[in-house]
Structure formats: C-alpha cells, structure tokens
C-alpha cells in the first residue's frame, strides 16, 4: 500500500533533476561541481531507500529473531560517499588549474 515513505523516491528524483540542472547549466566550474555533488547525493538516497525493510532494524546482528534492513546498499553507498568526495576534490583542483591557466594566458 502507498505510504508517506514513498515521498523519498520523489525526493530522490527531484534532487536528481536539480543536481543535473546545476551541472548542465551552471555558469562556472564551482557551480557545476556543487551540482555534481547534489546529483550524487540523490543516487545515494535512492539506493538506501530501497534497502529499508518495514519493521526491520539497523543491520547489526543482535539475534536471529529480528528482521534487519538490507545491508548491501549500505556497503555500496558508504564507499560511494568517500569516492564522491575524492572526485569532488580532484574536480576542484582541476578548476583551480583551469582558472590559473586562463589568468596566465590572458
């Protein structure tokens, strides 16, 4: 049945489109990079949302009688956050180099 938790899927789509808009039509590199960060966040929300189980608890083993939320998306998205930050930093460094090249050339 439809419950109010489904709004998280719509939120993920909305943030996806917002990040995509910022990336594609941002006027400076930093806007594009921020848009990329927002875009990545939306994917992470979506993946964690599809792993949630009704009546489940967080995936730390405290006994076989509990039902747990699926741990697989947590693992994948955990590394995705760190990798996203690493690529954000490299993107910022490239933006610095481009700006420095523009200033030196002109």
């Amino acid at each position: 049945m439809i419950n109010i938790g489904h709004i998280i899927y719509l939120v993920a789509v909305f943030v996806f489109l917002g990040g995509l808009y910022m990336t594609l039509s941002g006027k400076s590199y930093i806007r594009k990079i921020i848009g990329l960060g927002i875009f990545q966040n939306s994917i992470l929300i979506f993946y964690i949302a599809i792993g949630k189980v009704r009546g489940g608890i967080m995936p730390i083993d405290i006994g076989p009688e509990h039902s747990y939320s699926s741990p697989v998306p947590h693992v994948l998205m955990l590394t995705a956050i760190v990798v996203g930050f690493a690529t954000l930093c490299v993107g910022l460094a490239l933006a610095i180099k481009i700006e420095r090249g523009k200033n030196a050339g002109s």
Binding site: M1, I2, I4, G5, H6, I7, I8, Y9, V11, V13, F14, V15, F16, L17, G18, L20, Y21, M22, S25, S28, I30, R31, I34, I38, N41, L44, I45, I48, I50, G51, K52, V53, R54, G55, G56, M58, P59, I60, D61, I62, P64, S69, S70, P71, V72, V75, M77, L78, T79, I81, V82, V83, A86, L88, C89, V90, A93, A95, I96, E99
Partner: protein, 369 residues
C-alpha cells in the same frame, strides 16, 4: 521508532531537502550555496538514520557535512568567479520535466517503500554472516570480508585522488614556504622574535622585514604575510580546538577499533581523525607550520600498503588473495584479524589522504590571497 513515524519524519526531511536544493540552485553567491550544500548533507544524514543506515549516516556526517564543506570553503576563498546570469526563458526546463516523468513512470515498477528489495543476496548475508565471519556488524563483514576486494579498489581511489591533488596543486615544489622558512631559521636573531609562547614563536612584522632584507632574500613581507606568519588568531577557536582534540582523537580510535561490533570502520574513523588536523589548521592560521606533504604522502601509501599486503600475506600462506581464513586456525578469529588489519589500512589512508587534500587547498588559498 515505528515505521509510520519514521516514514512521516522521512517525508518531512525529504520535503526540506527539496527546499534546500531549490535554494542552492537559486542562490547567487558561492558562499551561500556551499553552506546550503552542507545543510542538505545534514538533512540527508538524518534521512539515512531514519532508513536504518547508521554507518552511512556517520560517513555522510563526517565527509559530506564537515570535510567537503571545509574543502569547498577553502577553495572558494581563492576563487574569483563571475556572477550567475539570470535565465530568461523557462523553455530549457522542459527536458527535465520529461526526464522526471519518465523516471517516475519507471518507478512504478519498484517495490513499495519498506518491502525491501534485498531479495536473496541480503538474505544470504543475514543468514550466513554469523557462521562464516562471526562479526556482529553485517556492513563491516560485507565491506571488509565478503567484498574486501572492492574496498581495496575504493582505498586506491582515495590514494589516487590525494596523489593527483599533490601533483596538481604544487605539492612538492613550493618555493615560497621553503625559502621563507630557510631565511627565518638562518637569520632569526633575538631582535626579530617578539614573544616565545608554548604554541610557537610569534614573529614581529618589522623585524621580519629587516631579517628578510638582511638575508638578501627576494621575498617581501607581503609574501611572508601570505604564507601565514602574521600573529593573529581567534582565541575561541584556539581554546576549543585544543580542548576538544583529545576527545575527537579518542572517538576516531574507538570508531576504528569497534567498527566490527557497532557502526563504524576505517572510512568514518579516517575522516574524523582528519578533522582534528583541519581544526588545527583553521584555528591557528598564524603558526609557522612545517610542510607535512612528505609525511602525509608516505602515510597514505603505508595505509594502502597495509591493505594490499594483507592480501599478499594470505597468498604466501597458501590460499587465495584476501582469504582471511589462512591467517589463523580458528576461522572467526582469523576473520577478525583480517578485518582489523584492512580496516587499519583504510583508516590510515583515508585520514592521511583527507589531511593532505585539505592542506593542499589551504596552502592554495593562502597563496592566492
């Protein structure tokens, strides 16, 4: 927390997230959009907590809310950008509506929220982790043991990013700081030093100029200013960072070691450890800091080496790469040793990598002022 209540709160935070995203898109200044990005990461972290993902929430809090905001702010300090031009027509939004409606239409095939699309793979992990690995945290068991090879790749990505930054951002050939530190150390007579304090030496600006001109260096006082040698600092930040640093260190070590029985692990611990160094860089901008690029590069490499060497060790002991069962006779103990070793490697690499990244952006911001 009951499912209905958590869904309701999730809906509220999701709505707030949409609002913050619109604000980021419409914001005109860079500073506003960076702070709003941090706020959106905070809301996302709360959403993760409501969706039973404490590991991911901790990582998002450490990296998304704190580290990426500080790195973006350091970047924005030295970045001169043009203001955003106002969009005239709204026609360019039509493709986004079409894309959004396609995605929502495709989303009707998804499982309902809460029904759990985990299917057989998460069932396997939930059922067999207790027997095969013996570690309470499913996330740590999957991350470090079942999918340990993926985590090696992710650690390599962090290492590569830190190395790429040190190549791009003048990591190894900083003439300014090496020259000024040489001239100061060779010509620092007592007249140029105005105060000795436990946290460092405060150098008088005029005496600094005379010392530099005496040494015949070509660097003016303005450039010495820029490298961060002026005696200024925020007393609140200094006291707070000094007070809270041991607790953060304790927390980082705790999360690193207890990552197997509670939410935590190498990634979160490394990010929290790096925040100590970032706090010191923020609170003490006037200190003459030694150049840590060499040490941090070595530390990043050592962390990755620990991880990869654990795999090589298992190969030498007769099994395949990253098979922890070869490390000890008792299977659960062997898994715990293997997980501990690679989490240590991950923690060291992430901590050193994040510190290196922040230090390079910090020096870049100071150099551009």
């Amino acid at each position: 927390m009951s499912f209905e209540l958590s869904s309701l709160l999730l809906g509220l935070f999701g709505f707030g997230l949409c609002f913050v995203t619109i604000s980021i898109i419409r914001s005109k200044s860079l500073f506003t959009s960076i702070i709003l990005l941090s706020a959106s990461s905070l809301m996302i972290m709360l959403c993760y907590l409501l969706m039973d993902a404490p590991d991911v929430a901790m990582t998002e809090a450490a990296i998304g809310v704190c580290l990426s905001t500080s790195v973006l702010l350091k970047f924005a300090k030295g970045y001169r950008h043009a203001e955003e031009a106002e969009q005239n027509s709204k026609l360019h939004l039509i493709p986004y509506f079409i894309l959004g409606s396609i995605m929502i239409y495709a989303g009707f095939d998804l499982a309902l929220y809460g029904e759990g699309a985990g299917s057989y793979i998460s069932d396997y992990f939930l059922r067999h982790t207790g027997n095969e690995i013996g570690v309470p945290s499913f996330v740590a068991a999957i991350l470090a043991s079942y999918r340990g090879y993926d985590t090696l790749g992710e650690t390599t990505v962090i290492f590569t990013a830190a190395m790429a930054l040190s190549i791009l951002l003048r990591g190894f050939s900083s003439k300014l700081s090496s020259q000024t530190s040489e001239s100061i150390s060779s010509n620092a007579d007592l007249g140029s030093i105005s105060a000795f304090r436990p946290e460092g030496v405060i150098i008088n600006k005029d005496a600094l100029a005379s010392a530099l001109s005496n040494s015949g260096s070509q660097i003016s006082v303005r450039e010495a200013h820029r490298s961060g040698m002026t005696p200024k600092g925020n007393i609140v930040a200094e006291v707070m960072v000094k007070f809270i640093a041991p607790f953060i260190l304790f927390l980082a070590v705790y999360i690193q070691i207890c990552g197997e029985i509670s939410p935590g692990g190498g990634f979160q611990a490394g990010a929290i450890f790096a925040s100590i160094a970032i706090g010191f860089y923020l609170a003490f901008p006037h200190k003459v800091l030694v150049n840590p690029v060499r040490v941090l590069t070595i530390a990043t490499s050592v962390g990755l080496l620990i991880y990869a060497s654990t795999g090589l060790l298992t190969v030498f002991l007769g099994s395949w790469y990253l098979d922890y069962y070869a490390l000890a006779p008792d299977p659960h103990f062997a898994q715990k040793i293997g997980i501990f070793a690679i989490e240590l490697g991950v923690g060291i690499t992430v901590a050193a990598g994040m510190m290196l990244i922040y230090f390079l952006f910090d020096r870049e911001a100071k150099g551009l002022q």
